[in-house]
């Protein structure tokens, strides 16, 4: 019941991030990517881990945020903070509209709708070449210095700290959210939706709110990607993106907030080291990993850690 109090171990990721800034100077771009993926995975955890909505369409919001920020930078202003807001807003609207559609259904139909909506957006981005650059991607995304002072440098230092700050603030908000009555009611919906109806909870509205918030944060992650890489390609809306973030979250452990941190970090680092060598077998091992996780380690890395560290009790 006291979970909302900040425990010392929760400061660990932030200390690690700051330490990495100084220790791994040449890996800062990877570090930024990791933090963007952590944010992406956090957004998914809200709907998948906490609310229990099985979706393969989170990339829709990531992609909308990415493109919105990119188009904003190209046509309106290169100011990054407002770009983040634009990305979040566009993604939130997408989340609201698609959520209103998708959340009327369940199971396979819901899953299929999330896939179809993402494919729809991908097709739209592909076709609207004049706005999105189509298959070639959006070029010429130039980002101004943050707050007029911090220029994006070649070593990725500014980008790293920028991503770190955004991730930190997002985490603060999401952490508060999941410990608040709202977050706990999402868990209730996941655990027994019949009971939630029977205690007077407006389930559909609650889920739609969660879906929209989740979309907004996915959109922020996408916008960060655009701003730090100065490019948007079609892959931000791909099935692979959606699948990847689900894998990252499950790898770390769903419904625990920190699963997103661990899963994204482990996945991205492993991918950086292993996928270069043999991308085809990277897919094979990821597939095998998924099968093994489902069969033996459903709680992901954090679940395994629990089993090893907590005293044995009837689970």
């Amino acid at each position: 019941m006291r979970a909302h109090r900040l425990r010392p171990i929760e400061l660990l990721p932030w200390l690690a991030a700051v330490a990495a800034y100084f220790a791994f100077g040449s890996y800062l771009p990877l570090g930024s990517q990791i933090m963007i993926m952590i944010l992406f995975a956090l957004s998914l955890d809200l709907v998948l881990g906490y609310a229990g909505i099985v979706t393969l369409g989170q990339a829709a919001f990531f992609g909308v945020g990415a493109y919105a920020a990119g188009i904003y930078a190209v046509h309106v202003s290169g100011e990054p903070l407002s770009g983040l807001v634009i990305g979040a807003a566009a993604a939130a609207v997408t989340g609201l509209v698609s959520g209103a559609i998708v959340l009327r259904t369940s199971g396979l139909t819901l899953l299929m709708l999330t896939l179809a909506i993402t494919s729809l957006l991908e097709a739209a981005a592909n076709d609207a070449t004049s706005i999105t650059g189509g298959n070639d991607g959006l070029q010429g995304v130039a980002i101004d210095p943050i707050l007029g002072r911090f220029d994006f440098d070649l070593y990725g230092r500014t980008a790293y700290l920028y991503c770190l700050a955004v991730l930190f603030l997002s985490w603060l908000f999401l952490r508060r959210l999941v410990h608040a009555p709202f977050g706990r009611s999402l868990v209730g919906i996941r655990e027994n939706v019949v009971r939630m109806h029977a205690i007077g909870a407006p389930v559909r509205r609650r889920l739609l709110t969660a879906y929209t918030i989740s979309a907004a944060f996915a959109g922020i992650a996408g916008a960060l990607l655009t701003q730090t890489t100065q490019f948007v390609g079609l892959t931000v809306l791909s099935f692979e993106r959606s699948g990847e973030v689900v894998i990252m979250l499950v790898l770390g452990g769903t419904g625990r907030l920190y699963g997103a941190f661990i899963g994204a970090a482990v996945y991205m680092i492993a991918q950086d080291q292993l996928a270069e060598a043999d991308p085809i077998f990277w897919d094979f091992w990821i597939g095998l990993l998924l099968v093994l996780i489902v069969l033996f380690a459903r709680g992901g890395i954090l679940g395994l850690a629990d089993r090893l560290t907590l005293p044995p009790r009837r689970r």
Partner: protein
């Protein structure tokens, strides 16, 4: 006397089968009303219609003066209609206290709060804990529900309903599945329910019914056979036939 809960010619058909047939029912304020009948009479269906899990084919449902026939479940709960389920419908993986807190939070109207209002949450927890204490399960408040024996889980089911501070409480076979050693606790709890709450209880256990009810409705094949005070019902030959007939099949 306005009834706190009333149905007017309530019907429910599944295909060609009428599981609820023109039911006229009144629940008075402060009632201790039992609904009995043989298996398959449609008792749980009736409760599902009252609580909003099922939409009626015809007829009306009134809560106080308001027509709630078209109102979804959650809204009926907000207006003071609480229920328990025949089969435990709990958050099995969550602690007992959390089960009750979720209900209390919804009732207090801050189920959607995103910025943790620490003061209000503490109140909710204390209120929930007090409820558990009254039901005698405060000692297991931190345990996940699934680790409790069935009888205690049944009490959690009642605790959740009480946390909603209902004006009308529908209890669907509260003692069902509970070993007789543990059922006395449940009987006591029901006996101590506040007078301000109108209670409708579905039961098979005749001992419980006659101990607790001030009014009994007998439901047979979706329709009301007879309604009256316990003594009348016990003496009614039609009722005895319905139950005698059933016992012969056992």
């Amino acid at each position: 006397m306005t009834a706190v809960l009333e149905t007017v010619r309530l019907c429910k058909r599944f295909g060609g089968v009428a599981v609820a047939n023109d039911i006229n029912f009144r629940l008075e304020a402060g009632a201790r009303h039992a609904l009995i009948g043989p298996n398959g009479a449609g008792k749980t269906t009736f409760v599902n219609l009252l609580s909003g899990r099922l939409a009626p084919s015809a007829g009306r449902i009134l809560l106080g003066n308001a027509d709630i026939t078209r109102l979804p479940q959650a809204q009926r709960v907000k207006r003071g209609l609480g229920r328990t389920f025949q089969i435990n419908t709990l958050f099995k993986g969550l602690p007992v206290l959390e089960n009750v807190c979720l209900a209390a939070a919804e009732h207090a109207g801050f189920g959607a709060r995103m910025l943790r209002a620490a003061g209000a949450q503490r109140d909710t927890m204390e209120h929930a804990f007090g409820l558990l204490d009254r039901l005698g399960i405060a000692d297991v408040a931190a345990l996940p529900v699934k680790e409790l024996p069935y009888g205690k889980q049944r009490l959690v089911e009642i605790a959740i309903a009480l946390a909603l501070q209902p004006s009308v409480l529908l209890l669907d076979e509260p003692a069902a599945g509970v070993p007789s050693a543990e059922s006395s606790v449940i009987l006591d709890v029901i006996g101590q329910l506040p007078e301000s709450v109108a209670v409708l209880i579905i039961e098979h256990d005749m001992e419980l019914v006659f101990r607790f009810a001030r009014r009994i409705t007998v439901l047979v094949q979706g329709g009301v056979l007879v309604e009256g005070a316990p003594a009348e019902i016990a003496a009614d030959p039609r009722v005895r036939e319905v139950y005698l007939g059933e016992r012969q099949h056992d």
